[in-house]
Amino acid sequence: MTDDRIFVTGVGAGTPFGLGVDALLDGMLAGESRVVALAEPHGSLAPGYGGEVTLKARDLRSLPNSRDMRPGTMTRYTFLSTLALGSAMAEGEIPWDDGDGALRRGFYVASYTNSDRFDKYVRFAHHVIDKDADGKPVIVDERVPTAIRKFSGFEFLKLMNNMPTAHGGIQGRCQGPCNTFLGSPSGGLQAIGRAKLAIQDGLADTMYAGGVGSSIHPQMMMVRATRKLESSSDVAPDQAGRPFDQDATGIVPGEAGGCIVLERASTATARGANARAELAGYGEWFTPPSVNRGVPPTPAGPVRAMRRALERAGLEAKDVDVVFAHGESNNDLDRIEALALAETLGPRSADVPVVSMTAHVGSTEAAVGPLNAALAVRVLETGKVPGALNRGNPLPEYKGPNGAAPMDIDAKVALVSVTTREGIAAAVVLRKIE
């Protein structure tokens, strides 16, 4: 293990506000919400609105080492992931074509799943399956060759859960450690934490770390609708995402990709990179699981994750200038998260701004952590903190500021935390480089 510090030298995003973290931050500073009525309703399964990314293939191809990338071979998850990675590579001015440098680069990414186009395979099955005289399903022999011809192997391969890593590994020229973490919105911060360790263990000098979420497709909408987690459609779309607000009615579908570039300090310095912040600490904690039933019963998990991240950064709660939280817009989970923030920050709770992007772009699943980390980096650089949109009637457990106006602060330490209903909490601490 090396003692080298880890710098963030690039941040990237593909969000409903467009390409790059600045587009996201500018939109949030302006108090805008990009949660809109969707052009294509999804049956009776969804509220009919969400935060949709409208970026196209040409946007991806404008990014470093991305000219030959083919979104037609990607699911939505993979596409969003490559947008975020390419955006981060561009800002970080990563020398991706540096020959053997690829051996010292890796990519960790988190995703709920990668199967947004599974419906195509169901259509395959429908093509070959019919009913016999007794009404039982049978496969019709003569249809099989046609069906197979219609389905290229790439359609199947698109859905493999490691495809964001596979495409990103080629895009970012990564021949070092690559991994895909599945299953929780905190996965994106876990990817960042593990990427930090990969550098500190000497496995890589540069790691891309990110997360992706795409809940505007039938699969995830069905999941949430049946679990009764979706926001009500009785409110205006731009009012639907309400983190830490008593009037929140549920999760707002959204989609995005977020990514940050981590470099060993000595590597970043040697190439003259713009070190934007230091990744000073990471922590995670796990509450015993309850499969898809409710939320963690207490805030102990996220409290421990945040305290561990601060401890590893050599900091205390009193040092935190701004918090970037999950704020799922679901009262059950937001209460737990609010309690965790209040307990962690203690007497400073009332003064430390708590930023949540849910009101602006909806729920971005595993992208939320990396996006918040990217925003935190930018806030440490600019001192401009977005206001609290749609938080006019805060939960009693929420003790932080809730003014809608943006603030200018001299932020030196940012705490990023994701609390999840899966009971996996993760946090990172970012520090301004003086």
């Binding site: 049956g43 429908h126 197979i148 493999m160 596979a166 080629i170 450690p177």
Partner: protein, 403 residues
């Protein structure tokens, strides 16, 4: 560095429920592949799979949970972990597509009746849709409240999961972990492999000149990992030490491996470095051996470069391709291969590559036919896996009393 050892095993595979059933088949050199039962394979002009046909499929039940539960039962009995030990244990699993058959059912229904309200039964199916749900389910089933993670790296998923689990223990994030992988056999995945021309017309024949594809299987394979110190203190049976692990990417092509095996070579060298061993220390190799032209050829090139460094250039360790017995269990494959390697260490047997007739490397020993008693001590085994998307992994498994 904290030493992490395997103190319990549990598995379900085409060979049956339990590690002894699997080891018996493998040691005997008898394939467990059987006729496809889940759908009519003849329609694809394919006949065999590695389905766990001894387990009835329950209507509406989750196959992955069924497999995991049985493997967990054996694991707990074998490891001797009680509730007190389990309470802060981690759970780290790998899977390719999770409970994909449930999702298949859901979408068949919704593609036909999209406006129909979901039933309570649907909710359970939806809940299992996320590939990570199996890990949460197992953690709850075991009462394991420690770190949880799901690795989704296709065929290297569970070997990377084992690396991750070892790392958690070594860093002190938790003292013990249940780690492994799971995969169910599904028409969806089978169709995908078939569409890309990766399914075998007959059996799975790793490293054979006549190999023509892989045979998909299913299973759940679990291990209990803890520190050597803890294991010794409680008088546990210690199967082996996971002495090193590595994973590296090709960054070559979205689907095809680096034909030269560059990523695999880097993963192996990383595992060597972590374990403090070199090519001369390796007594046996468990290869990925999918039976596809690309994979097996690529693996041989990587092995050739690495073991060329050994002073006696002809000393290529015996190489086993156990998928010839169990089929390719995708997300469970890395843990399954590692488990067979651990048993090879225990019983001092070289596991066979069944169905091998004409080797693509005639001077190498792929242990054709049945297992072979060791003619020298088997102390260290290298177990490797590779995946679509150019991801590669390697594990070094070592006999504890030999280190």
């Amino acid at each position: 560095m904290t030493r992490v050892v395997v103190t319990g095993l549990g598995m379900v595979s085409a060979a049956g429920t339990g590690v002894p059933a699997a080891w018996s088949k493998l040691a005997d050199g008898t394939t467990a592949l059987n006729p496809i039962s889940k759908f009519d394979g003849a329609l694809y002009d394919r006949t065999v799979a590695g389905e766990a046909n001894h387990l009835a499929r329950t209507d509406g039940g989750d196959r992955c949970e069924q497999l995991l539960e049985l493997a967990a039962d054996e694991l707990i009995a074998d490891s001797g972990w009680d509730d007190a030990l389990m309470v802060d244990a981690g759970v780290v699993l790998g899977t390719c597509q999770g409970s994909i058959a449930r999702a298949e059912q859901i979408h068949r229904k919704y593609a036909r009746r999209p406006q129909e309200a979901a039933t309570d039964d649907d909710k359970a199916r939806f809940a299992a849709y996320r590939p990570g749900a199996g890990t949460t389910w197992l953690a709850e089933h075991l009462g394991a409240g420690g770190p949880r993670a799901t690795v989704g790296m296709v065929c290297v998923s569970s070997s990377v999961a084992l690396c991750h689990a070892v790392d958690l223990v070594q860093r002190g994030a938790c003292r013990r972990v249940v780690a492994g992988g799971f995969e169910e056999f599904s028409q969806f995945v089978f169709t995908g492999f078939h569409c890309i021309g990766a399914t075998a017309t007959g059996g799975l024949r790793p490293f054979d000149e006549e190999r023509d594809g892989t045979v998909l299987g299913e299973g759940a394979v679990l291990m209990t990992l803890e520190t050597l110190e803890d294991a010794q203190a409680r008088g546990a049976t210690i199967y082996a030490e996971i002495a090193g692990g590595g994973f590296a990417a090709d960054a070559f092509h979205m689907t095809a491996p680096d034909p030269e095996g560059g990523g695999l070579e880097r993963a192996i060298r990383q595992a060597f470095s972590e374990a403090g061993v070199g090519p001369a220390d390796i007594d046996a190799i468990s290869a990925h051996g999918t039976g596809t032209a690309f994979n097996d050829g690529m693996e041989c090139k990587a092995f050739a470069r690495i073991f060329k460094e050994v002073a006696d250039a002809d000393r290529m360790p015996p190489i086993s391709g156990v998928k010839s017995v169990f089929g390719h269990t995708l997300g469970a494959a890395g843990a399954l291969d590692a488990t067979m390697s651990i048993l090879a260490l225990r019983d001092q047997l070289f596991p066979p590559t069944v169905a091998l007739e004409t080797s693509i490397q005639p001077t190498w020993d792929f242990v054709p036919g049945g297992s072979k008693p060791a003619d020298r001590p088997i102390d260290v085994v290298l177990s490797t896996n590779s995946a679509f998307g150019g991801n590669n992994s390697a594990l070094i498994l070592r006999r504890v009393d030999a280190s």
